[in-house]
Amino acid sequence: MSEALVTAVKDICQAHECDRTRMMDVVQAVNDKYGYVSSEAMDLIAEQLSTHRVEVESVVSFYAFLSSKPKGKVVIRLCNDVIDRLQGADRVGQAFVEELGINFGETTPDGQLTLETTPCIGQSDQAPAVAINDVIIPNVSSDKAREIVRELRQHMDPARLVKQHGDGNNAHPLVGSMVHNNIRKRGDLLFTPINRGEAVRKALAMSPVEVIRAVKTARLRGRGGAGFPAGMKWEFTRGAPGDRKFVLCNADEGEPGTFKDRVLLTELPDRVFAGITIAGYAIGAEEGIVYLRSEYRYLIAFLESVLEQRRKDGLLGRNILGKEGFNFDIRIQMGAGAYICGEETALISSCEGLRGDPKNRPPFPAQKGYLDCPSVVNNVETLCCVTKILELGPASFNEFGSDRSSGTKLLSISGDCKQPGVYEMPLGVTLREVLEQCGGADAAAVQVGGASGQMVGPKDYDRKICFDDLATGGALMVFGPDRNILKVAHAFMEFFVEESCGYCTPCRVGNRLLMDRLEKIMAGLAEPADLDYLKELGQTVKTCSRCGLGQTSPNPILTTLENFRPVYEAMVKEETQGFQATFDLAQAVAEAEKIAGRTSVHAHA
């Protein structure tokens, strides 16, 4: 064991006070420094954090951005989300493979560059996108991919790949990113100028209970997907016994096709942080945590600087804005590549330095959350709405939107439309209006709500986007008439198989079984009965899974089966004369043939 490693790991652990619950930060720092967490490093971390080696291994092996095997100094991660694929990610991937001379999952022989794929990195509006260490390069072409590799070989500095900056704060010196905001429509609430400090000041002039009442009066419902009333969640948390409480801001934004939180964090971080602070005041918390997905790490220096400014301005820290006894601060917790960590209890596990396994519910986070303390988990956009409610007053907020869904909703629109990007629309808007605005009126299908949402066709375009009809965390993926719906559904299933935490049986096994059967259908080897199989199996997975991932993961198959059944029917054949079309004799004996070193006459007859 090298002395240098011992010292480095000790320093890292001590920088986090050898606190076992900060394991995520520790393993990430080690991973950053060495490109992986070696076996020796695991032993050292375990010793420093007074835990067991296998516990460290357990965490490292859970997250896609952490590795127990050496990787290149620079890791190229090509987003393989369905939208990226439709827009040529496969060709780009091929270019990377050729130029690097390695396959996906491999590292160049000189140990410099690693090539991987990764699920949606939150840039579907500028697909195909690639993450090179922390640097995002949007809109890559095959030529661009080759150029990137050649350039990296010269300087190995991803930052130097950034040639021109995107709009707005993407050009901020602390961001310096090529990413574009693509804000296509500014509504009346969120994308409006801010008066820093106004909302917090107004909140502090009220009692915490009055703040909660205001959020309830505004009828604010969660923007992260589930639509739970925010005021009620706060009330439960406020009422739960415990001296220490927490506000957790969910900035994991892992749902494929969703990227609106990225834009809020880039352009309106003050509104996000104000919302967290107000939530803290309302529930009686002193600590807030932003759980930021690793794919947005390029924003962290900027976000830290905004937090620092708020501390200087008395908007964070002790006795905020002179309010005696209201102390509150916010820290950013980086994720490490795991979609499941957007699920609120998995997010809590991850913040606690554990594997991102969801927790059993009850107890709910409001009763027993982060470090077993009552905690509120809210989405980035929900917290922005909170700030706006305080700025405007609840009654004015209520005027926007529809009867039972107040306010506006940010939609992340991607795919086959002329203007992909972020749209702030009043809740209650019809899908048709949205499609017209984004230049996707000839869509053959729209996936509403990301991979876990539903695929709808033209007969549903007059339905409304709101909590009571087409509910969505905001992702709309548009598919034109030439797209193969089964391929899309398959890409989503691949995503869920990859991202299931593996804790519970139905999700771990069932999603794989669903995907395999879909493949059989796509290969033209299935019978009509296979469609019933998908439906029943999908229902079992939804009913029995432990968390929202498995409870929704069969949706791509179930909703395409429901709304695009002819596409499936065209692919299945009734068995004839007692022959099972599904049985491929040649394939069945292929392995045996290989072992025996000869071919079978019958199989190839």
Partner: protein, 239 residues
């Protein structure tokens, strides 16, 4: 003063203590709710989902859901049995379970559950995974082909043995039970008398040199289905 909570399971009224889980309360009342990852005395895990019941019409795992006053639980219905069969099937096809020559046969909870539910062959296709065997320890062997990821060994080692011999590593399909050592079980502080070794419901963690010592006919589930010991004890029986 001892408070009680009253609930119904398949129409039968039962009483339990506040804080008790549905599975435990049912068990005390002589109602068996099938389970695999649950083991009395260990922290509930909620992973196998075999204990899924309908609580006021919504699916919940009975091993992790506390009882509440007036709760209406469905346990033994055709719908639930069918879900449970699917889950048991999944566990079979996910691993490599060759019961006919497995040392645990006849004493295996997975196998016994399959019998209880009348499963003779799984309806899902076998996955035939390639998994590791760890036979490094002189007295204990881990055959991961048979592991169902119930975590009973993990929790028993932590909660009963006061050790930390086992833990899960990997995510999703890659998830597996690892041991607290760089290489293998022989390098850990495990002991053949550990509760963790007894905790395995299947043949994934087995003691060496005692396989097949109990003759067929004398094994745990040779005569009565799994769960009948609970049903025999209680006042109320499931229909």
């Amino acid at each position: 003063m001892s408070q009680t909570v009253t609930l119904t399971i398949d129409g039968a009224k039962i009483e339990g203590q506040p804080g008790q889980m549905i599975l435990g309360a049912a068990q005390e009342a002589g109602i068996y709710i099938p389970r695999l990852c649950h083991k009395d005395g260990l922290t509930p895990h909620g992973s196998c989902r075999v204990c899924t019941v309908m609580v006021n019409g919504r699916p919940m795992s009975a091993c992790t859901t506390p009882i509440t006053e007036g709760m209406v639980v469905e346990n033994d219905t055709e719908q639930i049995s069918s879900l449970r069969r699917d889950l048991i099937d999944m566990l079979f096809v996910e691993g490599n379970h060759f019961c006919m020559f497995c040392e645990r046969s006849g004493n295996c909870e997975l196998q016994a559950l399959a019998y209880r539910f009348g499963i003779t062959a799984p309806k899902y296709p076998y996955m035939f995974p390639d998994r590791d065997v760890d036979a490094t320890h002189p007295d204990i062997m881990i055959d991961r082909h048979r592991c169902i990821l119930c975590g009973r060994c993990v929790r028993s080692s932590q909660e009963v043995d006061g050790k930390n011999v086992f833990q899960f590593v990997g995510r999703g399909e890659e998830k597996r039970v690892a041991v607290n050592a760089e290489a293998a079980l022989a390098d850990t502080n495990v002991d053949v008398t550990d509760a963790a070794i007894e905790a395995c419901p299947v043949g994934a963690i087995i003691k060496k040199r005692v396989g097949y010592v109990v003759p067929i006919g004398k094994r745990l589930y040779d005569h009565k289905p799994i769960g009948s010991e609970i049903e025999a004890d209680g006042a109320v029986t499931a229909k």
